[in-house]
């Protein structure tokens, strides 16, 4: 064996083949880039499938989709939106209640492409350590954005929000928006691991609150087969969500119920023992054991 550390997922590639070991990652990139392209074929080629951006969009002049977070801030600033925006919010909230709130982060958000790149580079360059910032900070930031909106009477966070700034910039012209995106990239690369998406971003924090009640979950029907290779832990952007379900801490059922699981499915990819799978929050994946009971 060579002295170089084996990269996470190597075992899974050997066991399942490259494509199976990258299935969800590839699907996720297709989703992220595909959604971006849906927004871009309008301004680029005059093919207007989707108008607007992630704050509000109108698909084929029939389907309104609105970001509940930005509209809540608008409400905090003292403005009641029109009906179309409210319908858009209802559709989006219903959707994320089904598929998991932070699915937005890993399957839709354009910033994720950048922070994933930063993290990949961080691993490649062997950069370790950095500032420690609690994963709870994002909820403080989330609260702060509402206070700022209420006190200033403006949607203050939208002035600096890297998420909407990136998406809007790509579609409507960026100006210096790239500097903010670069700042996020450098933060994740040099300052702290998973710094933006995992600790600071209030958009993710907001969607995690929706995700608390979401239907779609990562399940661990074969958690007994775990050989402690730690690959899932190495690739997971929200590492704290795995352990309780994998190790049945405190009688946790084999089901990731943590709000901050982004449903990226990377753990499913890199597990050579096929411990993980997607499923609903209902029903017991380990048929013999009712939820809440320690199994192994």
């Amino acid at each position: 064996m060579s002295a170089a550390p084996i990269r996470p997922g190597a075992e899974a590639i050997a066991a399942k083949g490259w494509f199976s070991a990258h299935k969800w990652l590839l699907l996720r990139r297709c989703s992220q880039i595909g959604i971006l392209l849906l927004f871009l074929v309008g301004p680029w080629f005059g093919l207007w499938i989707v108008k607007g951006n992630l704050s509000f969009s109108y698909t084929l002049n029939t389907l309104p989709l609105a970001d509940p977070y930005v509209l809540l801030q608008s409400l905090a600033a003292g403005h009641m939106p029109e009906k179309l925006a409210l319908i858009g919010v209802a559709i989006v909230v219903a959707f994320y209640l089904l598929v998991g709130g932070r699915t937005y982060c890993s399957w839709v958000c354009p910033v994720n492409l950048v922070t994933d790149l930063a993290n990949w580079l961080r691993v490649r360059l062997g950069l370790k350590g950095g500032a420690h910032v609690s994963r709870q900070v994002r909820y403080w930031v989330l609260g702060m954005t509402f206070v700022a909106a209420a006190v200033s009477g403006t949607i203050a966070w939208e002035m600096v929000n890297p998420v909407t700034m990136t998406h809007r910039g790509l579609i409507f012209g960026a100006g210096l928006a790239w500097t903010v995106l670069l700042a996020v990239f450098l933060l994740d690369l040099f300052v702290m691991r998973h710094g933006w998406c995992g600790r600071l971003c209030p958009v993710g924090a907001f969607y995690s609150l929706i995700g608390k009640f979401a239907l779609l979950r990562v399940k661990l029907p074969a958690r007994a087969a775990c050989n402690d290779c730690m690959d899932c832990f190495a690739v997971c952007p929200e590492q704290q969500v795995i352990r309780p379900a994998l190790k049945a801490i405190g009688g946790t059922p084999p089901l990731i119920l943590e709000a901050n699981c982004t449903n990226c499915g990377r753990c499913i990819d890199v597990c050579s023992k096929d411990v993980f799978t997607f499923g609903t929050r209902f029903g017991s994946p380990e048929n013999a054991s009712p939820p809440g009971q320690r199994v192994n």
């Binding site: 309008g42 207007w48 108008k51 607007g52 951006n53 704050s55 509000f56 969009s57 109108y58 309104p64 609105a66 970001d67 930005v70 509209l71 608008s74 600033a77 003292g78 403005h79 009641m80 939106p81 029109e82 179309l84 925006a85 858009g88 609690s134 709870q136 900070v137 403080w140 930031v141 609260g143 702060m144 954005t145 206070v147 700022a148 909106a149 006190v151 200033s152 009477g153 403006t154 949607i155 203050a156 966070w157 939208e158 002035m159 600096v160 909407t164 700034m165 809007r168 910039g169 579609i171 409507f172 012209g173 960026a174 100006g175 210096l176 928006a177 500097t179 903010v180």
Partner: protein, 290 residues
């Protein structure tokens, strides 16, 4: 007190202290960030004068709380005049505006930009584009305005979509030549929509007529001011004393003209001069409304 209990108290004290310290750290850090963001956002509500909001935009302070920066108005503008503010521009990031000198509002009758707005930051109550008040045109520079210089320009008047209401022409004597008329465009805030067509069309290097935000362009009389002639019309007659025709108390056979002083009346013309034949005015202006 046994030592175990003591150390437990100590331990929980330490944990509590740690918790409080962590909480304070997060709250202060995030609070600082919030202060920065809030102040930045407040600053940005001061819209630069050249940036004009689309028709129906709420007042600026409300607008930046209502607009979610989705760009639907930009997309549905058939003339593509609207932009979303970039982060480096001195206004709320991502909010829509147009620059009249580059491309003015074409005042579509169906106002698609307002219809496209999902939040009502562009007020859906605006259904008649002539009621839009995007700004107010001001003939701001009399020194370069060709009409003021005595030339026949009046382009701003010709291109005005609310011609003869929002802009009218006031004819004045050209005091420099003494024999010509100046055709001065006059903007009336009651009808000006602030579309900016006048600014766009002004033919000189830098427009002499510009659209400004209404609060910058419009003066306001103090509340106690009452205009005598308005009150008179309202009351249907003079409120103070019956009007009397003004006459100078002059010696027999003399007349008085403003700026010319006393002079003798020609012996044949003992009766007061007819109103339309005032001496001192060029012939062209004698008679008629001037």
């Amino acid at each position: 007190m046994d030592s175990e209990a003591k150390s437990r108290t100590k331990g929980s004290n330490a944990a509590r202290r740690q918790f409080l310290a962590d909480t304070a750290r997060m709250a202060c850090g995030v609070g600082l960030l919030g202060l920065g963001v809030g102040l930045y956002a407040r600053h940005a509500t001061a819209l630069p004068p050249a940036a004009i909001r689309p028709p129906g935009a709420l007042p600026e302070t409300e607008f930046s709380g209502a607009c979610i920066r989705c760009g639907m108005c930009v997309r549905d503008c058939p003339y593509d005049i609207l932009h979303l503010a970039k982060p480096e521009e001195p206004m709320s990031t991502g909010t829509p505006y147009f620059v009249a000198r580059q491309a003015p509002c074409e005042m579509c009758e169906d106002i698609p930009c307002v219809k496209a707005c999902p939040t009502g930051a562009l007020d859906h109550k605006l259904t008649d584009i002539n009621q839009a008040r995007m700004g107010l045109a001001v003939l701001v520079d009399h020194e370069t305005c060709l009409s003021y210089l005595g030339m026949r320009c009046e382009i701003c008047y010709r291109v005005c979509p609310v011609i003869d209401k929002a802009i009218t022409i006031d004819t004045q004597t050209n005091a420099r030549t003494g024999r010509h008329t100046r055709f001065i465009p006059v903007v009336h805030s009651e009808h000006c929509t602030g579309c900016g067509k006048c600014e766009k069309a002004c033919p000189i290097q830098v427009a002499a007529i510009k659209v400004f935000p209404i609060h910058m362009a419009k003066g306001q009389l103090s509340e106690h001011y009452q205009l005598g002639w308005v009150e008179k019309e309202k009351a249907g007659g003079s409120l103070v004393a019956p009007d009397v025709e003004h006459r100078y108390n002059l010696p027999e056979g003399m007349k008085y003209e403003l700026g010319q002083g006393l002079s003798k009346l020609p012996p044949a013309d003992v009766a007061p001069a007819a109103p339309g034949a005032a001496p001192g005015l060029p012939k062209a202006f004698q008679g008629g409304k001037l």
